[in-house]
């Protein structure tokens, strides 16, 4: 069946099976492979994208349910030359090792800033990252990066 939505500002019309997950539409049809599939059971958060401004797990949403929505993926927030402040903070603080969880971490982190503001204490960041799992870093540098990225977002127009 036909689904129409906006992905990273571009209008998309695709003919898909109803069982197509949002993450499958993004990765397999649109070749936006920055959004990852980790657990495929809505626990790890590697697949987090924004739908109408809110972070969701794209492995646990049907693409057809997202009809008419605006989807933002990791590819839609910055460019190689101009990283999003949260991406820059993750780079600066080396908040990753293998990098698999990073796109989801960054999308969740931007959502945290959108909901909780630019001044985030460590406890808030750790609580709010509950839906994202990293198996490499032990989280310390991620937590630092989110705090720095949140502050940096206040200064930029992003």
């Amino acid at each position: 069946m036909k689904v129409t939505l906006t992905v990273n500002g571009q209008s998309v019309i695709e003919d898909i099976e109803p069982r197509t997950l949002l993450v499958q539409l993004l990765r397999d049809r649109l070749q936006l492979t920055g959004t990852h599939v980790g657990c495929d059971t809505s626990q790890c958060g590697a697949c987090v994208v924004h739908v109408d401004g809110r972070a969701i797990k794209s492995c646990t949403a049907l693409a057809v349910s997202c009809e008419g929505t605006k989807v933002i993926t990791i590819e839609g927030i910055g460019t190689e030359d101009h990283l999003h402040p949260m991406q820059e903070a993750f780079r600066e603080h080396h908040a990753l090792q293998c990098g698999y969880c990073t796109p989801g971490m960054i999308m969740s982190s931007i959502d945290i800033v959108n909901r909780k503001g630019h001044k985030l204490d460590e406890h808030t960041i750790r609580e709010e990252l509950e839906g994202n799992i990293c198996r490499c870093t032990g989280y310390h540098k991620i937590v630092k990066a989110v705090g720095a990225g949140a502050a940096a977002m206040a200064k930029s127009s992003a």
Binding site: P18, R19, G45, V48, I56, K57, T60, L62, S65, G131
Partner: protein, 266 residues
Amino acid sequence: MYSFDYQRPPTIEEAATALASSPDAKVLAGGQTLLPTMKQRLARPSVLIDLGGIAGLQSISRKDGMLVIGAMVTHHAVANSQEVKSAIPHLADVAENIGDPQVRNRGTIGGSLANNDPAADYPAAALALGATFKTSQRTLSAEDFFQGLFTTALKENEILTEIHFPIPKRFGYARFSNPASRFALAGVAVAETAAGVRVAVTGAGADGVFRVPAMEAALSKSFAVSAIAGIAIDVKLLGSDIHAGADYRAQLIKVMARDAVTMAAS
């Protein structure tokens, strides 16, 4: 997951008609339980009827002394609603502690209640508050609605549309979480409304959410932690699994009841 047909009707009447016309149809709310279940091939609906296109199911309002929450209101919306925070502040806290932020952005109160997971938080809150459940066909009390593990009074072609919460004099909910899943090993909701004091337990019951009459009677006489200190829970009512034994859950219920009463009284 297996393939299925998909419909997104604009009204509850059309959704009910679609549901009645296909024997293996299922209703899709936020999908945070149904979609994982389908991925594991534990459910195989022939048709999914998505309630996401029905605008009337997404509002929160106050009507005739009740807090009315539409079935498709997300946990995030309940947690952040000024209407909920002013009417039943700790009900907003219940919503804020479900799942993780991404699940709260998608999961709905109606979906959670209709699923009646024995470890979910909302069933305890709804039972303690004495909520009424409005469906596409009728109105049900919380006692009648919950019918045991993953079971409700909803008929095959019936859709939950609104939950009406009496505005209580006081309400509290305390949960002891499984450290991995954050689901309740025991969660206790305590409410005092015009109809009296009610205590409801989730996460621990062998047959899902249940009330504790002995605690209700004691709290009716004196709404204080000391009133329920000596009340033991019958372990035969409780479930045992790899996460906790029934005797441990019985102890957790006492402790969570204490915390819920403290929260409600403050």
